[in-house]
Symmetry: C2
Subunit: 335 residues, 2 copies
């Protein structure tokens, strides 16, 4: 039953304060069951024993370049994550790693910092790439020994759509393929610089490193050539390894692609996942899970991420630590 094991709100930190981190902070501001108490970006961090004001955080970051300048609560730091862990210790229950993961081992390296600091609690990421999740999978024993409950791949894809695939798979004796196709519309790519660069890194002829090295003007020039639309196929998304680890199907049966319109908030197509398999009676069929077009990337990533954070907190309260993926655990609805 879903009765909370304790009635205390969960004290949450957000690491990374770009488009995703800011959306996460906005989402948290309407929740009773979670309180935003800490934020870190590349150049500083902010922490309050009570709670941080989301709007003040966003204004400070946008006007002054780092949350470290937040009045009364901010501190400038070149080791903001380490310093924040050191200062706050176990007064923060869990963190959402809203980090762009460039380079590809950045999020695993942050997880290692938590382990090294002797910190105990829950961590959630919305990581995208298979190779990054593989690095985390190799840390399963370390995380468990450290008393950290870590949920990986908890955004939209991987995340919500991967979990929908794992659920849909139940009707079948064998899964033939899982096809994820996403549509993203953003009015202005500059609000999601890191995400758009990661998308470009998945395009034919580009690498994540090459995309990361592009100037804003170079990104603009590329987008001008495609009328602002990025078409992505056979992306390296961790949905594949997550469904394999969950025992659903081998990773080569999972494909992810999508269309991103960087100049229009309307989605170019409805994001969906199609799960095709054979039932025990020998019938071949396809279940489909489709996201409503009016839901933003921010809603479909941050909503699930905090749902998984709540689920992780319940596991932790039951004494369960280690690494889990979004395909294995049902996220809990956060009020």
């Amino acid at each position: 039953m879903n009765t909370p094991l304790t009635n205390q709100p969960i004290r949450v930190g957000v690491l990374g304060f770009g488009g995703l981190g800011q959306a996460a902070a906005k989402l948290l501001s309407s929740k009773r069951e979670m309180i935003l108490v800490a934020v870190a970006d590349q150049n500083g961090y902010a922490y309050s024993t009570e709670s941080l004001n989301t709007q003040a955080c966003i204004t400070t970051y946008q006007n002054q370049g780092t949350i470290g300048h937040l009045e009364a609560f901010g501190t400038l730091s070149n080791n903001s994550i380490q310093d924040l862990i050191q200062v706050t210790g176990d007064t923060v229950d869990g963190y959402f790693l809203a980090l762009p993961n460039l380079p590809n081992d950045f999020i695993p390296s942050v997880a290692k910092e938590f382990i090294q600091a002797g910190w105990k609690g829950v961590l959630v990421d919305a990581i995208k790439r298979t190779s990054a999740v593989e690095q985390l999978l190799s840390m399963q024993d370390e995380l468990q020994a450290a008393g950290i409950t870590y949920m990986t791949g908890c955004g939209a894809t991987p995340g919500l759509l991967t979990a929908a695939a794992a659920l849909a798979a139940q009707s079948y004796a064998e899964i033939h393929n899982v096809v994820i196709t996403f549509g993203v519309g953003i009015a202005n790519w500059e609000a999601y610089r890191a995400t758009v660069r990661e998308d470009i890194g998945h395009m034919p002829g580009y690498s994540v490193e090459a995309a990361r090295a592009m100037t804003d003007a170079e990104v603009e020039a590329l987008l001008d050539q495609t009328n602002g639309v990025l078409t992505l196929e056979n992306m390296e998304h961790a949905d594949d390894v997550m469904l394999e680890v969950a025992g659903i199907c081998s990773r080569d049966r999972v494909t992810v692609g999508g269309v991103v319109d960087t100049r229009n908030p309307k989605k170019p197509l409805s994001t969906n996942v199609k799960i095709t398999g054979r039932t025990f009676e020998g019938k071949i069929s396809t279940h489909t899970f489709t996201l409503g077009d009016e839901t933003s990337m921010a809603a479909n990533v941050c909503g699930p991420a905090f749902g998984y954070l709540k689920a992780a907190q319940e596991l932790r309260q039951r004494g369960i630590s280690g690494l889990f993926t979004a395909a294995e655990i049902m996220p809990k609805f956060v009020k």
Copy 2:
């Protein structure tokens, strides 16, 4: 991670051997991770320390009226469930309660028999009605104290579709409504007598008791009037209480209806659940999960039921007992 806590196959019993129980036995016959070792019907039971042959069970039941006549493994009994528990004890890890639940407290009364026998293990039902799930919810403490991990509402609706609604809800700050519409096509209603009677019990002007008292000829006559089609609205389905208990929305926001064609295996419409809500950004939208038309009721009920049984077994191995619903736990894929 989804590494099994033990590598032993799960030794499964099926209680009830009508259409649903027989489908469950067929499904199990192709699994490596589960073995069918026990079956009970109203007039007898069968048990093997190794495994039961599905086809022999079905032939015996269909030709002789009870599994109690199964050669070498069958026993006739008027208290088949109690006797089976007594004889097998903890050599059966878990049971799927493939029981029609007429009267409405039948499944809760079976759960009480397991508690009274001092049995420990996992139980899964594919119960339909809200009031039946409410009775089980009131047994939460008893089940926990008994060391039983009980998963309720683990069929299609409630079950797979309820879980899909709980998952889809993560994108939203508030859920406005959850609408489940199912289409069922069965070639011959006589293969699912109990299920069809339960559906009739949900129709305007009928009650479960009245439907139960109908002779086969009376059911035939009713179906003749509607050309074999049953249209069901505002059904008392436990999806509502399950989503309420999981904290997703109040039960009055959940509705279940459907169309059952009892003379045609083709579904009259695609079974789906629509989840409408408001995102943290204030947008109203609808996610949709649609089942492939070629998947049968048997595949969509028995597949999830065993997926939840495997998940329950993992919880039990972690020392977690008590009552859970399909909306709270991610089912595990059974190989």
